[in-house]
Every structure is written in C-alpha cells, then in structure tokens.
C-alpha cells in the first residue's frame, strides 16, 4: 500500500524533474522561475473552469499553452538579456529568484494564499488496489507520467529537435558550429519544459489542491529526483523519483509524515557530498565558479 502511494508521488516528481531537466539542458542554470510557472498553470485552470465555466478538457490545454508562453516570456525578458551580458549561471539563478517572487506573489494577490482545489463533483471512493485507495486523478497522474517519460525519451532520442537539445546541452559552441540555432533550441525546450511543469502543477492541484507557493516544493523534489538519478535522461529521472518517493514513504512510516521533506533533503545532502554524480553515473549539474 505504501509502495502504491510512493509510485504516485514518484510519478509527479518525475514529470517535474523531466520538465526542469528540459529547461536545464539548454538553459544551464538553476531556474527558480520554473517553480512559479508550475503554479501559474493550475490557477489558470481554476480561473477558466470556475469563472469562465470552461470544461477541464479545454481549460487544461489552454493553461499549458499559457505555461509555455510564460516560459518563453521569462526567457526573452530576463534570461536572454542577461546572457547577452555574459552573466554567469549564478547571476541567472539570482534573477530567476526575482522572477519567482514576482510571479508567485502575483498569484497570491489574484487568488489569495489559501489552499484551493480543482476537484470536481463529490469525492469518489476510488479503486482498491493492494490495500490502497486510488482515485481517478491518481490513475491519471500515473498515465500522464508514463506518457511524459516515454514521450520525453522519444523526443530526446528519436527526433531532430531532441538531438538538437542534447547537442546544445552538451556544448553550445559545438552545437553552433554544426549550424544548430542554440537560442532557438533553448527557447523551444524552455517552452516544452514549462508546459510540462504546468501539467505537473495541474495534476498536483487536481489530486491534493494548490497554493501559490506549491511550485517551490514541487520543483525541489523534481530537482532532487534529477540529482539522485544523476542524469537528465527520462530513465534516470524516473529512477531518481522512485528512490526519492520510496525514501519519503519510509521516512513517513518510521518518523511520521512531517519528517518526509527534511529526510528527503537530508538524503540529498548526503548524496551531494558523497556521490555528486548520482546513481546513473554522469555529473550533470554545472559546478561553476
């Protein structure tokens, strides 16, 4: 039963991790703004469904498109001008904290700080599987994660765009020399990554509700999954997410649920200090300066 819930948690971490990895591959800095995009989308869904009475099937794609647009906007308005000024990854990171503060507090202003839910109709009992109660939403989360992981793997390994993203991620000058338009590819992966973050945010909101600050925890969990996985590949992130969720479940069992996050970050800290290359091998974050 614990394992089932862990898998569901892992599915969410996995989507977030992959969405971040896509942006990170070409952006090459730790973008806190990503956390804000993750939160903006579910609030957009909320607005569309509650205020404008759109059906979820319409509202969700619109929200994801908005997420992609927002990803492009922060790239254009902030990050690209900074890159032109030869900013280091640390400068981009600080600017991204600013972006996060602006977006997150804008949501707070518009919607308030209380927990809101996207759930529709009466709460259903859910299915019983292996002693756990699984709701429809949670099934949707699992399916979405499966699609995103396999889709991500397909995108990165089998398509031209994916090859370009990986090329830019490995060496921007080299990518440029073989005629890849690095800024264009960066923009594209930022858009896809942002839309995926929006998807993750919306799924979290459907499952457990949302707050304006939900993005920070979600993002960190995704990044932790990426670091533990030690790879930006969909497979590595899935593995990392699974390990993270299982350790969280274990901490919940042994210490209580309130210790779940501290334990996860303690594990991360130990991981960073002992084995920065992750379980899958390659060092992926840029250790600059």
């Amino acid at each position: 039963m614990v394992a089932i819930y862990a898998v569901i948690a892992a599915a969410v971490y996995c989507i977030v991790g992959l969405s971040f990895a896509l942006c990170y591959a070409t952006g090459r800095f730790f973008d806190f703004g990503h956390a804000a995009v993750l939160a903006v989308c579910p609030y957009c869904v909320l607005f569309l469904t509650r205020t404008l009475d759109f059906p979820l099937a319409v509202a969700l794609p619109v929200a994801l498109a908005l997420g992609a647009l927002l990803g492009a906007a922060k790239e254009l308005a902030v990050y690209r001008p900074l890159r032109v000024r030869h900013a280091s990854p640390l400068v981009l990171l600080i600017a991204s904290i600013g972006v996060y503060l602006v977006l997150q507090n804008s949501i707070s202003l518009a919607f308030g700080d209380d927990t809101k839910t996207l759930a529709f109709g009466p709460v259903r009992e859910g299915f019983a599987i292996l002693g756990a109660r699984i709701t429809t939403i949670q099934v949707a989360v699992l399916i979405a994660a499966a699609i995103v992981v396999s889709g991500g793997a397909f995108l990165l390994r089998r398509t031209r765009t994916g090859t370009h993203i990986r090329a830019v991620g490995e060496s921007p000058p080299l990518a440029l020399s073989v005629g890849i338009d690095a800024p264009h590819v960066g923009m594209l992966s930022a858009c896809i990554g942002s839309a995926l973050a929006g998807l993750a945010g919306s799924l979290i909101a459907l499952d457990v509700g949302m707050t304006p600050t939900m993005g920070m925890r979600a993002l960190l969990m995704g990044v932790v999954a990426m670091i533990i996985g030690g790879s930006q590949s969909p497979l590595g992130i899935s593995l990392g997410a699974l390990l993270l969720a299982l350790s969280g479940a274990l901490a919940t069992q042994l210490l209580g649920s309130q210790w779940q996050d501290p334990t996860a970050f303690f594990a991360l800290l130990v991981f960073l200090l002992m084995r920065p290359q992750g379980v899958m091998g390659k060092l992926t974050l840029i250790s600059n300066g």
């Binding site: 507090n105 920070m216 840029i286």
Partner: protein, 295 residues
C-alpha cells in the same frame, strides 16, 4: 517615535543579517540560501535557554553564536567543497532540514506554534521593553558586528576571499588554503546570523518557524545584492532601503494583506533589475557572479 524606533530596530536586525551574508556572498562570492536557518538557530537557542534556564541575555547570546558557529562548521566543512548550483542546492537542503526541526521538534521548539513568553532583556536590573530602549541594544550589537566585519573586510585577510571569488584555482596555486578561508568566513557568518536571531527573539518575545524560511534567506540575499555585495556598508544600505520600501506602501494606504505580496513583488523586481542593470548593487564595487572580462 515608537514607530520610528521599531523600524530602526528591524533595520538593525536585517543589517546584521546582511553583514553576515556579505561575508560569504560578497567577499568569497559563494551563494548560500541557508542564512535564515542559522538566524533561526540563534533565535531558538536563545529562546529555549531563556525559557528553560532563565539565563541572562549576554550568556544566551554567546551560547547561540557558538552553537550556530559550530553548526556552520559542521555543515560548511563538507558543503563548501561544492560551488555554484551545487552549493545553492546543498544549503537549500540544510535550510529545509533546519526548518523541519523547528516545525516538528515540538518539545523543544514549540512546533508550529513557536515559543512565547520570552522574558525581556535586563540591563543593570531594569527590563528593556520599549522599542526605543531596544534600539540602543540593537545599535550597540550592530556596531560590534560591523566592527568584526570591518576587520575581515580589510587586507590582509580580505585578499584571499577576493582571490577565491574570482579564481579559486589560482588562489590555491598562490598557496592559499581555499577550504579553510571559506570555512572561516562561513563559521563567522553563521554566528553573526545567530546574533541577529537572538535579538529578534528578545525583541518580539515570541518566535515561530515562519520567520526562518527559505524566503527569509532570499530576502537576506536581496539585501546584500541590492545594497552592494563586497562593500562593507552595502548590506546596511540594502537593509535600510528594503525595510523602508514596504513602509512607503503602508503610508500609501495599501491594505496590509496585499502589501505583503506587493512588497515581495518589489523585491523580485529589484533583484532582476540589479542583475540586469546594476550587478554591483547600490554602492558596491563587485558585480556578484559576473566573470571578470579577459582581454
């Protein structure tokens, strides 16, 4: 008058936090998002001692600084080997863990409700309860902290951190013990942050975990960056500007609920604007995180 004194006390506490952050971010060029954690450790240790053992202010201040400094040593030792993104994530992890302890170790920290009923500071037998009286205490403490920072901010000591922030490999080739220098600064910085925490405890006479979140760390970073990283007085300027900024909102009559958010938005915009147009901050000389331009 009371109001002005209150604002100045808040500025004083944030100036100390900014000075502490400046030691690592400004002088050594290392970004840590754990400063609020050490701030909180100082606050909680002092509150715990005051409530449990009724020990005097000066003793609690000393113990808090030593505990936070020791914790800085334990945490900084291994994590300062990391740089850039990794250091940010490692310190973030520490921040989450510390906050988790504050929130969940209820028997010591009071849990989410925090600790209250902390006795006021006694000086020469009389209790300091007015903001004006406390302002004198904060000003005196801030002056001492500034003096310590000024000792570290001048040659010969400051040369090595300055070399490290620009080229840590070259600093080592020049025979400088990079790890020890970073750790010394980190330990002093942690202890200083704890001093601010102790002042906060005795001023508010109540603490809860919400004052020591990662957002608080980010605010402290903003103070240093907006004021001017690497300049001794930069954090003080930053603290003055960033504390007064929301007060202007209040004077404009914006309701306090919205003001909190608008304040954060302004801080966010200030960060982005600094990075884009004024990376050295208001009075700094060091553009944080910018690479030196090779000819």
């Amino acid at each position: 008058m009371e109001y002005a004194a209150h604002i100045l006390v808040v500025i004083g506490i944030y100036a100390i936090l900014g000075l502490s952050m400046n030691l690592i971010a400004g002088f050594a060029g290392l970004l840590s998002v754990a400063q609020a954690g050490f701030y909180g450790v100082g606050a909680y240790v002092a509150a715990f001692l005051a409530l449990q053992f009724h020990t005097p202010f000066v003793l609690n201040l000393t113990v808090s600084a030593v505990v936070a400094g020791g914790l800085g040593f334990v945490v900084g030792g291994p994590s300062l080997r990391l740089r850039g993104d990794y250091l940010v994530i490692a310190t973030f992890s520490f921040q989450v863990i510390v906050l988790g302890v504050f929130t969940n170790w209820t028997s010591v920290t009071g849990g989410p409700m925090g600790l209250y009923g902390i006795p006021p500071v006694h000086v020469l037998g009389s209790a300091i309860t007015s903001p004006l009286g406390f302002l004198v205490l904060v000003a005196a403490t801030a002056a001492i902290v500034l003096w310590i920072a000024s000792r570290l901010a001048r040659p010969p000591f400051v040369r090595t951190p300055k070399a490290i922030r620009e080229d840590h490999v070259l600093a080592a080739v020049r025979g400088k013990n990079v790890a020890r220098t970073k750790l010394s600064l980190f330990v002093v910085s942690s202890a200083m942050a704890a001093v601010a925490g102790v002042l906060n405890t005795y001023y508010m006479r109540f603490i809860d975990p919400s004052s020591f979140t990662v957002m608080e760390s980010i605010f402290i970073i903003t103070i240093v960056i907006v004021g001017g990283a690497g300049n001794l007085y930069g954090p003080i300027v930053g603290a003055v500007v960033l504390v007064l900024l929301p007060e202007i909102l209040r004077l404009m009559g914006i309701p306090s609920a919205a003001a909190a958010n608008i304040r954060q938005i302004l801080y966010g915009l200030a960060l982005v604007a600094c990075m884009l147009w004024r990376p050295q901050g208001l009075i700094g000389e060091y553009a944080f995180g910018r690479e030196a331009t090779p000819k």
